[in-house]
Protein backbone atom coordinates (compact mmCIF):
# COMPACT_ATOMS: atom_id res chain seq x y z
CA UNK A 1 0.00 0.00 0.00
CA UNK A 2 2.97 2.32 0.53
CA UNK A 3 3.52 1.88 -3.20
CA UNK A 4 0.42 4.07 -3.65
CA UNK A 5 2.12 6.89 -1.75
CA UNK A 6 5.36 6.45 -3.67
CA UNK A 7 3.66 6.26 -7.07
CA UNK A 8 1.28 9.18 -6.52
CA UNK A 9 3.97 11.20 -4.74
CA UNK A 10 6.44 10.89 -7.62
CA UNK A 11 3.62 11.69 -10.05
CA UNK A 12 2.73 14.80 -8.05
CA UNK A 13 6.37 15.88 -7.87
CA UNK A 14 6.96 15.50 -11.61
CA UNK A 15 3.73 17.32 -12.51
CA UNK A 16 4.60 20.17 -10.16
CA UNK A 17 8.09 20.38 -11.63
CA UNK A 18 6.70 20.55 -15.14
CA UNK A 19 4.30 23.28 -14.01
CA UNK A 20 7.16 25.12 -12.39
CA UNK A 21 9.29 24.98 -15.57
CA UNK A 22 6.40 26.23 -17.72
CA UNK A 23 5.17 29.09 -15.55
CA UNK A 24 6.59 32.51 -16.36
CA UNK A 25 6.63 33.60 -12.74
CA UNK A 26 8.57 30.50 -11.64
CA UNK A 27 11.03 30.75 -14.54
CA UNK A 28 11.72 34.34 -13.52
CA UNK A 29 12.35 33.04 -10.00
CA UNK A 30 15.01 30.66 -11.33
CA UNK A 31 16.66 33.01 -13.81
CA UNK A 32 16.70 36.33 -12.01
CA UNK A 33 18.96 35.36 -9.06
CA UNK A 34 21.16 33.30 -11.39
CA UNK A 35 21.77 36.26 -13.66
CA UNK A 36 22.43 38.55 -10.68
CA UNK A 37 24.92 36.09 -9.21
CA UNK A 38 26.70 35.59 -12.53
CA UNK A 39 27.05 39.37 -12.95
CA UNK A 40 28.31 39.80 -9.38
CA UNK A 41 30.85 37.00 -9.83
CA UNK A 42 32.01 38.43 -13.15
CA UNK A 43 32.63 41.76 -11.41
CA UNK A 44 34.68 39.89 -8.78
CA UNK A 45 36.92 38.30 -11.43
CA UNK A 46 39.55 41.01 -11.24
CA UNK A 47 40.07 40.69 -7.49
CA UNK A 48 42.17 37.84 -6.09
CA UNK A 49 42.14 35.81 -2.91
CA UNK A 50 44.77 37.26 -0.55
CA UNK A 51 48.01 35.28 -0.67
CA UNK A 52 47.12 33.69 -4.01
CA UNK A 53 46.64 34.70 -7.62
CA UNK A 54 43.28 32.97 -7.72
CA UNK A 55 40.24 34.98 -8.85
CA UNK A 56 37.51 35.65 -6.29
CA UNK A 57 34.92 35.13 -9.01
CA UNK A 58 36.07 31.58 -9.65
CA UNK A 59 36.11 30.86 -5.92
CA UNK A 60 32.62 32.26 -5.40
CA UNK A 61 31.02 30.07 -8.09
CA UNK A 62 31.32 26.74 -6.20
CA UNK A 63 30.53 28.47 -2.89
CA UNK A 64 27.28 29.80 -4.36
CA UNK A 65 26.40 26.42 -5.85
CA UNK A 66 26.69 24.92 -2.39
CA UNK A 67 24.86 27.71 -0.58
CA UNK A 68 22.02 27.76 -3.10
CA UNK A 69 21.36 24.06 -2.39
CA UNK A 70 20.73 24.74 1.28
CA UNK A 71 19.03 28.09 0.80
CA UNK A 72 16.65 26.91 -1.94
CA UNK A 73 15.77 23.58 -0.34
CA UNK A 74 15.05 25.15 3.04
CA UNK A 75 13.18 28.29 1.98
CA UNK A 76 11.18 26.63 -0.83
CA UNK A 77 10.05 23.80 1.41
CA UNK A 78 9.11 26.23 4.15
CA UNK A 79 7.28 28.55 1.77
CA UNK A 80 5.37 25.87 -0.11
CA UNK A 81 4.30 24.10 3.05
CA UNK A 82 2.96 27.25 4.67
CA UNK A 83 1.24 28.44 1.50
CA UNK A 84 -0.28 25.06 0.70
CA UNK A 85 -1.53 24.69 4.23
CA UNK A 86 -3.26 28.06 3.94
CA UNK A 87 -4.81 27.42 0.53
CA UNK A 88 -6.12 23.95 1.42
CA UNK A 89 -3.78 21.79 -0.68
CA UNK A 90 -2.77 19.88 2.45
CA UNK A 91 -6.35 19.29 3.49
CA UNK A 92 -7.06 17.80 0.06
CA UNK A 93 -4.12 15.46 0.58
CA UNK A 94 -5.48 14.52 3.98
CA UNK A 95 -8.81 13.52 2.45
CA UNK A 96 -7.10 11.02 0.10
CA UNK A 97 -5.89 7.53 1.02
CA UNK A 98 -2.11 7.77 1.57
CA UNK A 99 -2.53 11.40 0.57
CA UNK A 100 -0.27 12.97 3.19
CA UNK A 101 2.64 10.59 2.55
CA UNK A 102 2.11 11.08 -1.17
CA UNK A 103 2.08 14.83 -0.71
CA UNK A 104 5.38 14.74 1.19
CA UNK A 105 7.07 12.48 -1.36
CA UNK A 106 5.78 14.85 -4.03
CA UNK A 107 7.16 17.85 -2.17
CA UNK A 108 10.58 16.21 -1.75
CA UNK A 109 10.62 15.44 -5.48
CA UNK A 110 9.55 18.95 -6.46
CA UNK A 111 11.99 20.74 -4.16
CA UNK A 112 14.88 18.46 -5.11
CA UNK A 113 14.16 19.04 -8.78
CA UNK A 114 13.90 22.81 -8.31
CA UNK A 115 17.15 22.86 -6.32
CA UNK A 116 18.91 20.80 -8.97
CA UNK A 117 17.65 23.12 -11.71
CA UNK A 118 18.95 26.09 -9.71
CA UNK A 119 22.52 24.73 -9.52
CA UNK A 120 22.56 23.52 -13.12
CA UNK A 121 21.73 27.09 -14.14
CA UNK A 122 24.79 28.25 -12.19
CA UNK A 123 27.16 25.44 -13.24
CA UNK A 124 26.60 25.47 -17.01
CA UNK A 125 27.33 29.16 -17.72
CA UNK A 126 29.79 29.24 -14.81
CA UNK A 127 32.08 26.67 -16.41
CA UNK A 128 32.43 28.89 -19.47
CA UNK A 129 32.78 32.18 -17.62
CA UNK A 130 35.31 31.35 -14.93
CA UNK A 131 38.89 30.12 -15.23
CA UNK A 132 40.97 28.05 -12.87
CA UNK A 133 38.30 25.49 -11.97
CA UNK A 134 39.56 21.92 -11.80
CA UNK A 135 36.96 19.60 -13.28
CA UNK A 136 37.48 15.83 -13.22
CA UNK A 137 35.51 12.70 -12.34
CA UNK A 138 35.90 13.42 -8.62
CA UNK A 139 34.23 16.82 -9.14
CA UNK A 140 30.98 15.10 -10.06
CA UNK A 141 31.26 12.43 -7.38
CA UNK A 142 31.74 15.11 -4.72
CA UNK A 143 28.99 17.26 -6.24
CA UNK A 144 26.53 14.39 -6.01
CA UNK A 145 27.21 13.48 -2.39
CA UNK A 146 27.27 17.09 -1.22
CA UNK A 147 24.03 17.76 -3.13
CA UNK A 148 22.24 14.72 -1.72
CA UNK A 149 23.48 15.22 1.83
CA UNK A 150 22.74 18.93 1.56
CA UNK A 151 19.14 18.25 0.56
CA UNK A 152 18.69 15.76 3.39
CA UNK A 153 20.20 18.24 5.86
CA UNK A 154 18.08 21.25 4.88
CA UNK A 155 14.78 20.08 3.34
CA UNK A 156 13.37 18.49 6.54
CA UNK A 157 14.39 21.57 8.54
CA UNK A 158 12.45 23.67 6.01
CA UNK A 159 9.45 21.38 6.54
CA UNK A 160 9.70 21.83 10.32
CA UNK A 161 9.85 25.63 9.99
CA UNK A 162 7.04 25.57 7.43
CA UNK A 163 4.86 23.63 9.85
CA UNK A 164 5.46 26.12 12.63
CA UNK A 165 4.43 29.17 10.62
CA UNK A 166 0.69 29.61 10.15
CA UNK A 167 0.86 32.76 8.11
CA UNK A 168 2.93 32.87 4.91
CA UNK A 169 3.46 36.58 5.38
CA UNK A 170 5.39 36.20 8.62
CA UNK A 171 8.08 34.15 6.95
CA UNK A 172 10.32 37.19 6.70
CA UNK A 173 11.21 36.32 10.29
CA UNK A 174 13.13 33.35 8.87
CA UNK A 175 14.15 34.83 5.52
CA UNK A 176 16.12 37.74 7.01
CA UNK A 177 18.38 35.68 9.26
CA UNK A 178 18.78 33.27 6.33
CA UNK A 179 20.11 36.11 4.16
CA UNK A 180 22.41 37.10 7.01
CA UNK A 181 23.65 33.55 7.23
CA UNK A 182 24.43 33.49 3.49
CA UNK A 183 26.42 36.70 3.91
CA UNK A 184 28.49 35.25 6.76
CA UNK A 185 29.01 31.70 5.55
CA UNK A 186 32.10 32.29 3.49
CA UNK A 187 30.24 32.44 0.19
CA UNK A 188 31.38 35.78 -1.21
CA UNK A 189 34.64 35.99 0.75
CA UNK A 190 36.64 33.42 2.75
CA UNK A 191 35.39 32.83 6.29
CA UNK A 192 38.88 33.56 7.62
CA UNK A 193 38.32 37.25 6.81
CA UNK A 194 35.54 37.38 9.47
CA UNK A 195 35.89 37.86 13.24
CA UNK A 196 36.38 34.52 14.98
CA UNK A 197 33.00 34.48 16.79
CA UNK A 198 31.27 34.84 13.44
CA UNK A 199 33.41 32.05 12.05
CA UNK A 200 32.30 29.85 14.91
CA UNK A 201 28.63 30.67 14.39
CA UNK A 202 28.74 30.12 10.64
CA UNK A 203 30.27 26.67 11.15
CA UNK A 204 27.22 25.55 13.14
CA UNK A 205 24.95 25.87 10.11
CA UNK A 206 24.90 23.79 6.90
CA UNK A 207 25.46 26.67 4.45
CA UNK A 208 29.17 27.08 5.17
CA UNK A 209 29.79 23.34 4.83
CA UNK A 210 27.81 23.13 1.58
CA UNK A 211 29.97 25.92 0.17
CA UNK A 212 33.13 24.22 1.40
CA UNK A 213 32.06 20.89 -0.05
CA UNK A 214 31.47 22.43 -3.47
CA UNK A 215 34.78 24.33 -3.33
CA UNK A 216 36.51 20.98 -2.70
CA UNK A 217 34.75 19.64 -5.80
CA UNK A 218 35.53 22.47 -8.21
CA UNK A 219 38.75 24.15 -7.00
CA UNK A 220 42.37 22.99 -7.24
CA UNK A 221 43.51 21.25 -4.03
CA UNK A 222 46.14 23.94 -3.45
CA UNK A 223 43.35 26.37 -2.58
CA UNK A 224 42.44 24.31 0.49
CA UNK A 225 45.28 26.29 2.07
CA UNK A 226 43.08 29.41 2.45
CA UNK A 227 40.34 27.43 4.24
CA UNK A 228 40.10 27.09 8.00
CA UNK A 229 42.64 24.46 9.07
CA UNK A 230 44.17 24.59 5.60
CA UNK A 231 42.06 21.62 4.48
CA UNK A 232 38.74 20.76 2.78
CA UNK A 233 37.71 19.08 6.06
CA UNK A 234 35.65 16.37 4.36
CA UNK A 235 34.96 14.44 7.58
CA UNK A 236 33.81 17.56 9.39
CA UNK A 237 31.51 18.37 6.42
CA UNK A 238 30.05 14.88 6.60
CA UNK A 239 29.68 15.23 10.36
CA UNK A 240 27.89 18.60 10.45
CA UNK A 241 25.61 17.91 7.47
CA UNK A 242 24.94 14.44 8.85
CA UNK A 243 23.98 15.88 12.24
CA UNK A 244 21.53 18.33 10.63
CA UNK A 245 20.13 15.45 8.57
CA UNK A 246 19.52 13.31 11.63
CA UNK A 247 17.99 16.24 13.54
CA UNK A 248 15.68 17.05 10.62
CA UNK A 249 14.68 13.46 9.96
CA UNK A 250 13.86 12.90 13.63
CA UNK A 251 12.05 16.19 14.14
CA UNK A 252 10.18 16.58 10.82
CA UNK A 253 7.88 13.53 11.08
CA UNK A 254 6.81 14.53 14.61
CA UNK A 255 6.12 18.16 13.71
CA UNK A 256 4.50 17.31 10.37
CA UNK A 257 2.22 14.73 11.96
CA UNK A 258 1.11 17.21 14.61
CA UNK A 259 0.52 19.87 11.95
CA UNK A 260 -1.43 17.48 9.69
CA UNK A 261 -3.61 16.29 12.55
CA UNK A 262 -4.85 19.83 13.07
CA UNK A 263 -5.91 20.39 9.48
CA UNK A 264 -9.66 20.45 8.88
CA UNK A 265 -12.13 22.29 6.73
CA UNK A 266 -12.77 24.84 9.44
CA UNK A 267 -9.08 25.54 10.09
CA UNK A 268 -8.56 26.20 6.37
CA UNK A 269 -11.71 28.35 6.32
CA UNK A 270 -10.43 30.36 9.29
CA UNK A 271 -7.11 31.04 7.55
CA UNK A 272 -8.98 31.97 4.38
CA UNK A 273 -11.04 34.50 6.33
CA UNK A 274 -7.90 36.00 7.81
CA UNK A 275 -6.14 36.18 4.46
CA UNK A 276 -9.16 37.79 2.76
CA UNK A 277 -9.26 40.43 5.46
CA UNK A 278 -5.63 41.24 4.76
CA UNK A 279 -5.97 41.37 0.99
CA UNK A 280 -9.28 42.89 -0.10
CA UNK A 281 -10.80 40.94 -2.99
Amino acid sequence: MTTTALRTGLQRGLIELRQSFTTVQDLWGYLFPTVVFLVVMTLMKGSTIPGTTFSRGSMTLPSLIGASIGFNALTNTMQQLTLEREDGTLLRAKALPHGMTGYLIGKITTISGMTLAGIVLLIVPGLFLFDGLEIDAMTWVTLVWVLVLGLVATLPIGAVLGSLFENPRTMGVIMLPMMGLVATSGIFFPLSELPSWMQGLAQVFPLYWLGLGMRSAFLPDALAAVEIGGSWRVWETLGVLGAWSIAGLVLAPVVLRRMARRESGSSVAARREKALQRVPG
Binding site: T4, T8, Q11, T89, R92, H98, S264
Partner: protein, 303 residues
Protein backbone atom coordinates in the same frame (compact mmCIF):
# COMPACT_ATOMS: atom_id res chain seq x y z
CA UNK B 1 -25.22 16.37 -17.54
CA UNK B 2 -25.69 13.29 -19.64
CA UNK B 3 -28.74 11.76 -17.97
CA UNK B 4 -31.12 14.49 -17.09
CA UNK B 5 -34.12 13.96 -14.87
CA UNK B 6 -34.29 10.21 -15.27
CA UNK B 7 -34.38 9.55 -11.55
CA UNK B 8 -37.40 11.34 -10.20
CA UNK B 9 -38.62 8.43 -8.10
CA UNK B 10 -36.39 6.91 -5.46
CA UNK B 11 -37.03 3.26 -4.67
CA UNK B 12 -37.43 2.42 -0.96
CA UNK B 13 -34.17 1.30 0.59
CA UNK B 14 -33.85 -2.32 1.61
CA UNK B 15 -33.31 -2.75 5.34
CA UNK B 16 -29.55 -2.90 5.90
CA UNK B 17 -27.77 -5.09 8.42
CA UNK B 18 -25.56 -2.29 9.51
CA UNK B 19 -25.97 1.47 9.20
CA UNK B 20 -23.39 3.29 7.08
CA UNK B 21 -23.17 5.89 9.77
CA UNK B 22 -24.03 5.71 13.44
CA UNK B 23 -23.55 8.42 16.04
CA UNK B 24 -24.50 7.97 19.69
CA UNK B 25 -24.39 10.70 22.30
CA UNK B 26 -21.64 12.61 20.49
CA UNK B 27 -20.20 15.44 22.57
CA UNK B 28 -17.71 18.13 21.74
CA UNK B 29 -16.37 20.69 24.14
CA UNK B 30 -13.96 23.54 23.40
CA UNK B 31 -12.61 24.81 26.71
CA UNK B 32 -15.72 25.34 28.77
CA UNK B 33 -17.99 25.72 25.74
CA UNK B 34 -20.11 22.73 24.72
CA UNK B 35 -20.67 22.73 20.97
CA UNK B 36 -22.26 19.27 20.75
CA UNK B 37 -24.26 18.11 23.74
CA UNK B 38 -25.21 14.55 22.89
CA UNK B 39 -25.92 14.16 19.18
CA UNK B 40 -27.37 10.81 18.03
CA UNK B 41 -28.42 9.72 14.56
CA UNK B 42 -27.75 7.05 11.98
CA UNK B 43 -27.89 6.61 8.22
CA UNK B 44 -28.67 3.45 6.30
CA UNK B 45 -26.54 2.59 3.25
CA UNK B 46 -27.71 4.59 0.27
CA UNK B 47 -29.62 7.08 2.36
CA UNK B 48 -29.33 10.83 1.75
CA UNK B 49 -29.29 12.88 4.93
CA UNK B 50 -29.42 16.66 5.14
CA UNK B 51 -28.09 18.33 8.24
CA UNK B 52 -29.75 21.68 8.81
CA UNK B 53 -29.25 24.21 11.55
CA UNK B 54 -28.40 27.80 12.29
CA UNK B 55 -24.78 28.97 12.03
CA UNK B 56 -22.75 27.84 15.01
CA UNK B 57 -25.09 24.92 15.73
CA UNK B 58 -22.22 22.45 15.29
CA UNK B 59 -22.87 21.14 11.77
CA UNK B 60 -19.31 21.53 10.58
CA UNK B 61 -17.91 20.14 13.84
CA UNK B 62 -20.13 17.07 13.48
CA UNK B 63 -19.08 16.46 9.88
CA UNK B 64 -15.39 16.95 10.68
CA UNK B 65 -15.60 14.38 13.47
CA UNK B 66 -17.23 11.89 11.09
CA UNK B 67 -14.56 12.59 8.45
CA UNK B 68 -11.85 11.80 10.98
CA UNK B 69 -10.47 15.34 10.81
CA UNK B 70 -11.32 16.23 14.39
CA UNK B 71 -11.13 14.34 17.69
CA UNK B 72 -14.35 14.22 19.68
CA UNK B 73 -14.75 14.79 23.40
CA UNK B 74 -17.12 11.89 24.08
CA UNK B 75 -19.66 9.57 22.51
CA UNK B 76 -19.60 6.69 20.05
CA UNK B 77 -19.12 7.18 16.33
CA UNK B 78 -19.18 4.46 13.72
CA UNK B 79 -18.51 5.38 10.10
CA UNK B 80 -18.62 2.46 7.64
CA UNK B 81 -17.91 0.10 10.52
CA UNK B 82 -14.92 2.02 11.83
CA UNK B 83 -14.28 4.62 14.49
CA UNK B 84 -13.06 7.65 12.50
CA UNK B 85 -10.52 8.41 15.24
CA UNK B 86 -8.66 5.21 14.26
CA UNK B 87 -9.62 4.97 10.59
CA UNK B 88 -6.85 3.62 8.34
CA UNK B 89 -6.10 4.39 4.71
CA UNK B 90 -8.38 1.61 3.38
CA UNK B 91 -11.23 3.16 5.38
CA UNK B 92 -10.31 6.61 4.09
CA UNK B 93 -10.51 5.31 0.52
CA UNK B 94 -14.23 4.54 1.02
CA UNK B 95 -15.06 8.13 1.98
CA UNK B 96 -15.60 11.05 -0.35
CA UNK B 97 -15.26 14.57 0.96
CA UNK B 98 -16.33 17.63 -0.97
CA UNK B 99 -14.28 20.46 0.46
CA UNK B 100 -14.87 24.16 0.11
CA UNK B 101 -11.97 25.04 -2.13
CA UNK B 102 -10.31 28.37 -2.33
CA UNK B 103 -7.19 28.53 -4.45
CA UNK B 104 -5.40 25.22 -4.00
CA UNK B 105 -3.89 23.43 -7.02
CA UNK B 106 -4.25 26.60 -9.10
CA UNK B 107 -1.63 25.52 -11.61
CA UNK B 108 -3.10 22.03 -12.12
CA UNK B 109 -5.23 21.31 -15.13
CA UNK B 110 -8.68 19.85 -14.44
CA UNK B 111 -8.06 16.52 -16.13
CA UNK B 112 -4.56 16.14 -14.73
CA UNK B 113 -5.75 16.84 -11.17
CA UNK B 114 -8.63 14.36 -11.32
CA UNK B 115 -6.40 11.68 -12.84
CA UNK B 116 -3.82 12.28 -10.08
CA UNK B 117 -6.40 12.09 -7.29
CA UNK B 118 -8.00 9.03 -8.88
CA UNK B 119 -4.61 7.27 -8.84
CA UNK B 120 -4.72 7.24 -5.03
CA UNK B 121 -7.64 4.77 -5.13
CA UNK B 122 -6.42 2.19 -7.65
CA UNK B 123 -5.06 -0.07 -4.89
CA UNK B 124 -8.59 -0.32 -3.48
CA UNK B 125 -10.95 -0.16 -6.45
CA UNK B 126 -11.33 1.23 -9.94
CA UNK B 127 -11.80 4.99 -9.69
CA UNK B 128 -14.09 6.92 -12.06
CA UNK B 129 -12.94 7.15 -15.63
CA UNK B 130 -11.60 10.70 -15.73
CA UNK B 131 -13.28 11.80 -18.95
CA UNK B 132 -16.59 10.30 -17.91
CA UNK B 133 -16.38 12.06 -14.56
CA UNK B 134 -15.51 15.38 -16.19
CA UNK B 135 -18.51 14.95 -18.47
CA UNK B 136 -20.76 14.04 -15.55
CA UNK B 137 -19.96 17.27 -13.70
CA UNK B 138 -20.20 19.26 -16.92
CA UNK B 139 -16.58 20.36 -17.18
CA UNK B 140 -15.71 18.80 -20.54
CA UNK B 141 -15.11 22.17 -22.26
CA UNK B 142 -12.76 23.11 -19.40
CA UNK B 143 -10.89 19.80 -19.00
CA UNK B 144 -7.57 21.33 -20.07
CA UNK B 145 -7.93 24.60 -18.19
CA UNK B 146 -5.93 25.28 -15.07
CA UNK B 147 -8.01 25.10 -11.91
CA UNK B 148 -7.13 28.74 -11.22
CA UNK B 149 -8.85 29.82 -14.45
CA UNK B 150 -12.24 28.29 -13.59
CA UNK B 151 -15.21 30.39 -12.50
CA UNK B 152 -16.60 29.95 -9.00
CA UNK B 153 -19.32 27.57 -10.14
CA UNK B 154 -16.93 25.55 -12.30
CA UNK B 155 -14.47 25.33 -9.42
CA UNK B 156 -17.24 23.97 -7.23
CA UNK B 157 -18.06 21.28 -9.79
CA UNK B 158 -14.41 20.34 -9.72
CA UNK B 159 -14.66 20.06 -5.91
CA UNK B 160 -17.58 17.67 -6.34
CA UNK B 161 -15.67 15.65 -8.94
CA UNK B 162 -12.67 15.39 -6.59
CA UNK B 163 -15.02 14.22 -3.83
CA UNK B 164 -16.41 11.35 -5.87
CA UNK B 165 -13.45 10.32 -8.07
CA UNK B 166 -12.73 7.31 -5.79
CA UNK B 167 -16.33 6.03 -6.00
CA UNK B 168 -16.99 6.55 -2.28
CA UNK B 169 -19.53 4.55 -0.30
CA UNK B 170 -20.13 7.56 1.89
CA UNK B 171 -19.99 11.13 0.67
CA UNK B 172 -19.77 14.27 2.80
CA UNK B 173 -20.95 17.52 1.24
CA UNK B 174 -20.53 20.69 3.27
CA UNK B 175 -22.71 23.39 1.71
CA UNK B 176 -22.21 21.99 -1.77
CA UNK B 177 -24.13 24.54 -3.81
CA UNK B 178 -23.05 27.75 -2.11
CA UNK B 179 -22.41 30.18 -4.97
CA UNK B 180 -24.20 28.11 -7.65
CA UNK B 181 -26.56 29.70 -10.14
CA UNK B 182 -30.00 28.05 -10.44
CA UNK B 183 -29.02 25.97 -13.45
CA UNK B 184 -25.84 24.68 -11.87
CA UNK B 185 -27.81 23.92 -8.73
CA UNK B 186 -30.34 21.93 -10.70
CA UNK B 187 -27.60 19.96 -12.43
CA UNK B 188 -25.92 19.31 -9.13
CA UNK B 189 -29.16 17.99 -7.65
CA UNK B 190 -29.50 15.57 -10.55
CA UNK B 191 -25.96 14.40 -9.96
CA UNK B 192 -26.64 13.74 -6.27
CA UNK B 193 -29.75 11.75 -7.18
CA UNK B 194 -27.74 9.68 -9.61
CA UNK B 195 -25.04 8.97 -7.04
CA UNK B 196 -27.58 7.91 -4.44
CA UNK B 197 -29.65 5.79 -6.79
CA UNK B 198 -27.19 4.31 -9.26
CA UNK B 199 -24.15 3.87 -7.01
CA UNK B 200 -26.06 3.52 -3.73
CA UNK B 201 -23.79 6.12 -2.16
CA UNK B 202 -24.73 7.23 1.35
CA UNK B 203 -24.69 11.02 1.44
CA UNK B 204 -24.54 13.45 4.34
CA UNK B 205 -24.87 17.08 3.34
CA UNK B 206 -25.16 20.36 5.17
CA UNK B 207 -26.98 23.25 3.57
CA UNK B 208 -28.68 26.53 4.31
CA UNK B 209 -30.99 26.02 1.37
CA UNK B 210 -34.16 24.36 2.71
CA UNK B 211 -35.52 23.80 -0.77
CA UNK B 212 -32.35 21.89 -1.56
CA UNK B 213 -32.66 19.78 1.59
CA UNK B 214 -36.25 18.92 0.72
CA UNK B 215 -35.34 18.00 -2.87
CA UNK B 216 -32.30 15.88 -2.08
CA UNK B 217 -32.68 14.31 1.30
CA UNK B 218 -34.55 11.19 2.36
CA UNK B 219 -34.25 12.42 5.87
CA UNK B 220 -33.63 15.80 7.45
CA UNK B 221 -31.81 16.36 10.71
CA UNK B 222 -32.12 19.70 12.44
CA UNK B 223 -29.20 20.53 14.71
CA UNK B 224 -29.67 23.41 17.13
CA UNK B 225 -27.92 24.27 20.34
CA UNK B 226 -25.72 21.17 20.07
CA UNK B 227 -28.54 18.60 19.89
CA UNK B 228 -30.69 17.09 17.14
CA UNK B 229 -34.10 18.69 17.59
CA UNK B 230 -35.78 16.95 14.66
CA UNK B 231 -35.11 13.86 12.55
CA UNK B 232 -37.40 12.72 9.77
CA UNK B 233 -38.55 13.27 6.20
CA UNK B 234 -39.73 16.76 5.22
CA UNK B 235 -43.36 15.50 5.31
CA UNK B 236 -42.93 13.84 8.70
CA UNK B 237 -41.45 17.01 10.14
CA UNK B 238 -44.25 19.20 8.89
CA UNK B 239 -46.85 16.75 10.23
CA UNK B 240 -45.10 16.64 13.58
CA UNK B 241 -45.18 20.39 13.84
CA UNK B 242 -48.89 20.41 12.75
CA UNK B 243 -48.30 23.83 11.32
CA UNK B 244 -51.13 25.75 9.73
CA UNK B 245 -52.04 25.53 6.08
CA UNK B 246 -52.89 28.52 3.92
CA UNK B 247 -56.21 28.53 2.00
CA UNK B 248 -56.64 31.02 -0.88
CA UNK B 249 -59.70 31.50 -3.05
CA UNK B 250 -61.55 34.04 -5.16
CA UNK B 251 -65.22 34.98 -4.78
CA UNK B 252 -66.93 37.78 -6.69
CA UNK B 253 -63.60 38.79 -8.17
CA UNK B 254 -62.20 39.30 -4.67
CA UNK B 255 -59.08 37.45 -3.41
CA UNK B 256 -59.25 35.84 0.07
CA UNK B 257 -56.52 34.24 2.24
CA UNK B 258 -57.12 32.27 5.42
CA UNK B 259 -54.67 30.41 7.66
CA UNK B 260 -55.98 27.37 9.46
CA UNK B 261 -54.74 24.21 11.17
CA UNK B 262 -57.81 22.28 9.85
CA UNK B 263 -57.76 23.02 6.13
CA UNK B 264 -60.10 20.19 5.06
CA UNK B 265 -62.88 21.20 7.44
CA UNK B 266 -62.50 24.83 6.47
CA UNK B 267 -62.76 24.13 2.74
CA UNK B 268 -65.83 21.91 3.27
CA UNK B 269 -67.46 24.75 5.20
CA UNK B 270 -66.48 27.21 2.49
CA UNK B 271 -68.19 25.17 -0.25
CA UNK B 272 -71.23 24.54 1.93
CA UNK B 273 -71.65 28.27 2.32
CA UNK B 274 -70.84 29.60 -1.17
CA UNK B 275 -70.89 26.59 -3.48
CA UNK B 276 -70.04 27.48 -7.10
CA UNK B 277 -69.07 31.03 -6.24
CA UNK B 278 -65.68 29.74 -5.03
CA UNK B 279 -62.99 29.94 -7.71
CA UNK B 280 -59.21 29.51 -7.92
CA UNK B 281 -59.08 27.49 -4.71
CA UNK B 282 -55.58 26.79 -3.41
CA UNK B 283 -54.52 24.96 -0.26
CA UNK B 284 -50.86 25.27 0.55
CA UNK B 285 -49.40 23.08 3.27
CA UNK B 286 -46.62 24.51 5.39
CA UNK B 287 -43.39 24.09 3.45
CA UNK B 288 -40.09 23.02 4.95
CA UNK B 289 -39.13 26.59 5.65
CA UNK B 290 -42.25 27.17 7.77
CA UNK B 291 -41.65 23.88 9.54
CA UNK B 292 -37.99 24.66 10.11
CA UNK B 293 -38.71 28.10 11.53
CA UNK B 294 -41.45 26.64 13.76
CA UNK B 295 -39.02 23.98 15.01
CA UNK B 296 -36.39 26.54 15.87
CA UNK B 297 -38.92 28.78 17.61
CA UNK B 298 -40.22 25.87 19.68
CA UNK B 299 -36.66 24.87 20.54
CA UNK B 300 -35.64 28.39 21.53
CA UNK B 301 -38.82 28.73 23.58
CA UNK B 302 -38.04 25.57 25.53
CA UNK B 303 -34.32 26.21 25.86
Amino acid sequence: MTTFGQVAVRPPHPPADRPALEVRDLRMRYGSHDVLKGVSFSAAPGEVLALLGPNGAGKTTTIEILEGFRARSAGEVDVLGTDPASGDEAWRSRLGIVLQSWRDHRKWRVRELLAHFGAHYTAYRQPWDVDELIDTVGLTPHAHKRAGQLSGGQRRRLDVAIGIVGRPELLFLDEPTAGFDPEARREFHDLVHRLADESDTTILLTTHDLDEAEKLADRILVLAGGVIIADGSAEALSLRMSTTAEVRWTRDGQRYVHATAAATAFVRELFAQYGDEIEDLEVRRADLEDTYMALLRTFEGSA
